[in-house]
Amino acid sequence: MNSKEIILNKIRSNKAGKSPLPDIPDFRNASTDLIQAFENSLKVNHAVLYKVRNSGEINDFISKNYSTDKLICSLVAGIMGNFDIDQVNEPGDLKNIELAVLQGEVGVSENAAIWLSEKSMKLRALPFIIQHLILIVNESDIVENMHLAYQKIEIDADGYGVFIAGPSKTADIEQNLVIGAHGARSLTVFVIK
């Protein structure tokens, strides 16, 4: 018998009678102010939210806060950038990028999680290997909780997808919070009305 058969046989002889799967409610609460809750959650996670009307305001923010001497990789139409990701193949080629700007598909107000699909980042390493990250979320894509988020996304639409809820952080040294462990040192989120 191979390992697979051994494991399956043992499970079959040891498992108890069938136990039904419960239905999962979506726990929606109509009175929640989604944007306000989203902003609060981001703040708790050491990220910043700006409400804007158009991409021009985001470009203004980038030119004010980031030097164009450094590499900026924007994968959002209308947002400035100077790094063409289509010219590289290896994840390691992304290592000198200072800032990436990506489109989030869904924002979750209870915990600030923002869903990025593989399509929206092209190379999976991009949102992690850079120094700073900007995510853009449409106001209409913000939902209250994780149940509603999973109704909106298809987790296997691409080969990879990730919820990002803040800058990379650690508290492994005496429980002291340090921002910027391995991934992006900052997360700025723009919500477009």
Binding site: I11, N111, A149, Y150, G159, A165
Partner: protein, 454 residues
């Protein structure tokens, strides 16, 4: 046999550190309370999580086969490992076949359980743990002392010394910000040069054939999204039926662990990256045996949040190493005896049975009941010390003779009041070690009740 009390002695020697350890973990418990209280449906979520896991355990074979089928369809290669040796051998063969010399790892308690690092290092591979806490204990040549915060037993000065020796930080430097920045630079080099990367699995979804990994540092993604070869090691109990169930577990996991509403990165892997390869190793290693133990199979529901450790008065004051098992604390004390009762028979006694662990468990494992039942199993097999056996028999005899009990009670109250200090606080009385006994009352509750019942 492992003796928790004996092991704890070393940890307790440094009183300042143990007080800090106790307070820091209690802080995590307080954060957990704050995080969970913000969710109105918290108790309902715990119940749902428990029911989903009940369903999983009742159809584990079906879900594993469904997962395998879908993962293969997605382009992954799936392996079944009946035990730790099998797991290590499979991973060794994957590395060998792809001529890989080094492996970067994100936190995986399963690979600790299987002693994968030691296995690979013996064969000459470079294994780099990339979770900051795990890198620290790897430098210290220690296992993790907590499943969520592996280096919780070390002070920043000790970590500074390790970093000075291994990655050349300034001598005497211990600022967490500075040390973390140094680790970031050091590990970036490792990530960029890596040929293969391994993660554990928090949840595997049968319906889609993919899996989810949660980190705050982003080290799992830095590893597997850069290296061409991706390996995931998962315990067979990590399966959940559908994507919608992730909503329930992800709302519970981070809040239970640290109080935060979600980990910063919650990554969903379904296919190998373009030009890359994805291997998934499903490991049994005793889990299917545990499934057959009706009183204890609930421990397979565990999602490894660590809440039971953070709240445990014994764990907080004795540290992870006192348990002598990969997973410490209440959950470790019920999982370890299932693996080897003779070796770990003492662990279920490392508990006050206060039930705090059961109350915080996000998947409603009946931890303190299981601890109590393991004690009985241990006693039945004769795996308890003679002094414990003798004193329990004595106590049983006294309790079944009310008159004798009342006589001994009143004598003890008298003796405690009139004896000189050295008679009570000496090496024969473990209850008097580093604590003051409560003042003995003049009368027993029974005496008081008889006087006052009218």
């Amino acid at each position: 046999m492992i003796s928790h009390a004996k092991n704890a002695k070393g940890f307790l020697r440094d009183q300042e550190k143990t007080t800090w350890h106790d307070a820091t973990l209690w802080n995590a418990r307080t954060n957990r309370d704050r995080g969970s209280q913000k969710v109105a449906e918290w108790e309902q979520l715990r119940e749902l999580a428990s029911q989903i896991k009940n369903n999983v355990l009742s159809q584990l074979d079906d879900y594993l086969l469904q997962f395998e089928k879908n993962a293969v369809k997605n382009g992954a290669e799936v392996y079944w490992a009946k035990d730790a040796d099998d797991h290590n051998r499979i991973i060794g063969e994957i590395l060998k076949k792809h001529r890989v010399n080094s492996l970067v790892k994100s936190k995986s308690i399963l690979t600790e359980e299987c002693h994968l690092n030691q296995y690979l290092e013996k064969q000459g591979y470079e294994v780099v743990d990339t979770d900051l806490g795990e890198r620290i204990v790897q430098f210290a040549k220690q296992p993790p002392s907590h499943i969520v915060t592996p280096a919780i037993h070390l002070k920043k000065e000790e970590i500074g010394k390790l970093f000075h020796e291994h990655i050349g930080t300034d001598e005497g430097a211990s600022d967490p910000q500075y040390l973390t920045e140094a680790a970031r630079k050091h590990l970036r080099e490792k990530f960029l040069g890596s040929e293969a990367a391994l993660t554990g699995v928090n949840f595997a979804i049968a319906e889609t054939g993919g899996f989810v990994v949660c980190t705050n540092e982003g080290n799992a993604d830095m590893g597997v999204n850069i290296a061409p070869i991706q390996i995931a090691s998962m315990g067979i109990e990590k399966i959940i039926p559908k994507a919608e169930h992730l909503g329930v577990f992800l709302r519970l996991l981070a809040r239970s662990a640290t109080g935060q509403s979600i980990t910063n990165y919650t990554s969903h892997f379904h296919q190998p990256k373009p030009n890359g390869k994805l291997f998934i190793v499903m490991v049994d290693n005793g889990r299917s045996d545990l499934l057959g133990k009706a009183d204890f199979k609930n421990s397979l529901k565990c999602i490894r949040c660590g809440a039971c450790m953070n709240t445990c008065p014994v764990y907080k004051r004795s540290g992870g190493y006192s348990y002598g098992y990969t997973i410490p604390g209440p959950i470790g004390s019920v999982l370890a005896p299932a693996r080897d009762l003779e070796k770990y028979a003492n662990l279920p006694f490392a508990s006050s049975l206060c039930g705090a662990c059961t109350n915080v468990c996000p998947v409603k494992i009946d931890l303190h009941d299981q601890l109590y039942k393991w004690r009985q199993e241990a006693a039945k097999k004769g795996y308890i010390s003679t002094s414990k056996k003798w004193s329990m028999q004595m106590a049983g005899w006294v309790f079944s003779h009310p008159k004798l009990y009342r006589f001994l009670g009143s004598s003890a109250r008298l003796m405690l009041r009139i004896s000189p200090r050295f008679m009570i606080y000496n090496s024969l009385n473990a209850w008097g070690k580093s604590r003051e006994l409560p003042k003995a009352p003049k009368e027993s509750f029974r005496d008081w009740y008889l006087k006052n019942k009218n």
